[in-house]
């Protein structure tokens, strides 16, 4: 039953009613936990982004001029480590996922609320340990390849333990979500009546629980190498540095699907809502999420084509790598088909969602050069690779995250964002992003390696342009954050359903009451029944 689009007075606070530090610190409310994750991850988005700006400042000139090479190496390591472990992995699942999964399936909370708050504090504790390691900053790159990482002076052991804890938080959250989706769906909500955002987070959670333990073990072993003197990864002790790479990438490849699947899930919710048309190919999108999760585990060796693996391994990993292109393509085609003959509104969530498709397709297509053996040997570890992963992770996940924030801001806060400001921010971000990162494709193709504190002067033009782009990108993000903060206090009161969506969160007030639903709804149809119905039986 769709709620009226009636405005609610700003005095209504819903789950935000209770005040006080402990009402947040020890909360069992998934919505509050989600908000805490969002604020924490957004903080580290800004921190990691700041380090990115410092990198781009240094790279304005071919020689070390602001920072020494040692400091530069620490800058890019911190940039990668902070953004990957403290922002991009947890932001959508632990942030928006925690807030919305129970509501979207018609439940009052996740399966294990106490485990949920414990996961958050483990996350925070892990962050503190990681920050502690900055006393001797890491200079290994976020990939920590041995033997260098086992021998460097930096506080690798402390960082390993911090990352282990952050990973623990990730595993427990994934576990919580899997059980929640299996056991707590409202009556009548079969698997094929779930919103596709839930399918996406379900697939993500499976990856999280299967892959994260492997990186946990890898970091434990790295710490053990340094502390106990064992040598699994050290050739001087009979070990093998490539073994480290296998373990590292066995997690770190699937983790990019942890990063992208939730973002894709957000896009899959936004497009039908703003096209007023059912999502095209519900089952195809649901299955493609699972397929991506599965295929993601088979391809880790494509990070290691030049590492010294056997040619047979190279070939196997290359052909398997192309298999991930297919489910990705299925989603892209289905989103676009949803637009066909829709009634399209270009509100800010939709603009970000469409931008996601644009930038992510570029990122994904450039992955083909890296998956193909002949061209990978050319562009591996160059700025071409850096551009590829920034297009997929920032042009993809971060844009999807921004889209989700704009979409659900009214629901979470009870206030509307300023649409004009949102669109201005978007335009600046789009321009800045492309200038910053497209030039990297060129620099990399021309041969500029990554992780270079100093470079040959012939690469300076691209680097200067890219750095200018970074400043523009930062300005756009600043405008966006200004919009968030300002709207928290001055935004128009949000109705329950500002966008006319059909998923369950739009049937409760903005912000939702602590108990989510007065009565648990009984579900009789799928959530994408927009437009003229032929038979109206609610089946996808």
């Amino acid at each position: 039953m769709l709620a009226d689009a009636a405005a609610v007075t700003p005095a209504y606070k819903g789950y935000l009613e209770k005040k006080g530090f402990w009402s947040w610190a020890l909360t069992l409310d998934h919505k509050r936990i989600g908000v805490m994750y969002l604020l924490t991850t957004l903080l580290f988005f800004l921190v990691g982004g700041l380090f990115g700006l410092l990198i781009r400042l240094e790279l304005l000139k071919p020689v070390a001029w602001v920072f020494s090479p040692q400091t530069y190496n620490e800058l890019f390591t911190i940039h990668g480590t902070v953004l990957i472990f403290l922002f991009i992995i947890p932001a959508i699942p632990s942030g928006l996922g925690n807030f919305f999964i129970p509501i979207l399936i018609g439940a009052r909370d996740v399966a294990f609320p106490r485990l949920n708050i414990m996961s958050y504090w483990i996350f925070v504790f892990g962050i503190l340990v990681i920050l502690g390691s900055l006393a001797h900053p890491m200079d290994t790159g976020w990939t920590f390849y041995t033997p260098y990482s086992a021998r460097t002076d930096a506080a690798v052991t402390m960082l390993s333990l911090g990352v282990f804890m952050v990973g623990m938080s990730s595993i427990l959250t994934g576990l919580n979500f899997i059980v929640t989706v299996h056991k707590l769906r409202a009556p009548g909500m079969g698997w094929y009546r779930m919103p596709l955002f839930i399918w996406a987070l379900y697939a993500t959670s499976i990856i999280q629980v299967v892959a994260t333990p492997v990186i946990g073990m890898t970091f434990l072993l790295l710490a053990a190498e340094r502390v106990l003197g064992i040598g699994f990864f050290d050739p001087a002790k009979g070990g093998d540095p490539i073994l480290f790479q296998h373990f590292f990438w066995f997690y770190s490849h699937p983790v990019v699907y942890v990063m992208i699947l939730p973002a894709m899930g957000i896009i899959t919710e936004i497009i039908p809502t703003f096209s007023k048309k059912p999502i095209f190919g519900y089952k195809a999108i649901a299955y493609s999420s699972l397929a991506l999760a599965f295929a993601g585990f088979l391809v880790w060796g494509h990070h290691m084509f030049t590492a010294g693996m056997s040619v047979v391994a190279d070939i196997l990993f290359s052909v398997l790598t192309f298999s991930v292109a297919i489910p990705t393509g299925v989603k892209v085609f289905n989103w676009i088909a949803t637009l066909y003959k829709g009634s399209i509104s270009l509100d800010s969530p939709m603009i970000y969602a469409l931008t996601f498709i644009f930038l992510f397709v570029i990122g994904g297509l450039t992955g083909m050069f890296l998956g193909s053996l002949a061209t990978d040997v050319e562009v591996h570890n160059t700025y071409f690779l850096v551009a590829h992963f920034h297009y997929t992770m920032m042009g993809g996940t971060v844009m999807g995250f921004f889209a989700g924030l704009h979409y659900w801001f009214p629901k979470m806060t009870g206030r509307m964002l300023d649409e004009r400001l949102a669109k201005v921010a978007w335009a600046i971000i789009l321009v800045g992003f492309n200038i910053t990162f497209f030039t990297m494709f060129i620099a990399g193709y021309r041969g500029m390696p990554r992780r270079f504190a100093e470079y040959l002067p012939m690469y300076q033009p691209e680097n200067v342009v890219s750095s200018i782009g970074a400043v523009i990108l930062t300005a756009g993000i600043a405008v966006m954050f200004y919009n968030f903060v300002r709207s928290l206090f001055k935004g128009d009161p949000a109705p329950a359903n500002p966008w006319g969506g059909r998923t369950l969160e739009w049937q409760v007030a903005s912000p939702p009451p602590e108990h989510n639903f007065d009565t648990i709804p009984t579900i009789t149809e799928w959530p994408y029944g927009y437009g003229k119905r032929a038979g109206g039986d609610g089946k996808p």
């Binding site: 790159g141 260098y148 050739p235 095209f280 030049t306 393509g329 066909y340 003959k341 390696p449």
Partner: protein, 331 residues
Amino acid sequence: MNNAFNMTGAASQTAGQIDNVFIFILSIGIFFFLVTQGALIYFVIRYKKRKGDPDRETPYITESRTLERIWIIVPSILVLAIFYYGYVVFMKVKTPIQGASEVNVVASQWLWKFRYPDGRVVVNELRVPLGKPVQLTMTSTDVIHSFYVPDYRVNQDILPGRYTYLWFTPDKTGEFVVFCNQYCGVGHSEMLAKIIVMPQADYDRWLTGAPAAGGAPLAGRGEQLVKNSGCLACHSTDGTLKVGPTLKGLYGSSVALADGSAVLADDNYMKESLYEPGAKVVKGFPNVMPTFKGVLTDDDVTAVIAYIKTLGPAGHMEPDEKAETNAGTHR
């Protein structure tokens, strides 16, 4: 250094083929990009709801099995083609070339040592004759490095405790830059080498030629050696602190060592530092300097010392009263 990095600068026999694979993938990529983004932009414009209009009734289209099949099968065929083409060319790069002359490459933090078939070792410079296949047999003495020649479109990691290989046949003369392409520490971006491809006749002449020009002043020869042997990656000549101590003012000074003692930087200290760098580590600096035994002959060392003398307080030694005399530490 020749700028051969332009898009048509492929300088080895397989490099051009790799470029062709790149163009193949690029074409397919651009095609998909235009199709998808074109459709996206077209649909958004065509079906945009005008402000103030009531919501148009949209058709209840939920799926099409046919379309799903098409956009699974067609991309599958295309990506398999991309994989196959990439694989075929990759095999050409990875297949050992019969009759290739073998050069041993030893990568260390942060320089390259090339050992030629005739036994000589040269730092940071690889000379090869045009058109003849070369096999690089590579290992590292410390951490993982990588041999990357953009002009040859090839890249291969170098591991400690193992050998990895690279084959190429240069088909253009000139100088081509080699980068280290696997992060290896603070000197990673300084770790450059160059491949100098010469016509066969010139190469033969170089191979049999005398090492140094006879009449060059010793210090001048020393300066060349310092420039070409990778010293400047870690030592400056102007007082800047880098990975290692500066060479400026070094000769004749009193050097504080890590073990608390002090030593006079005389000729013997210099020679020992070049051949056995770990014997006397300077306080405040890491013990990471590689040895130049087998790389610099005794004559070379003399020339290097002569050059370093020109960087410091001129001429004489000033033994410091507080320093240990070197009498007991000479070999």
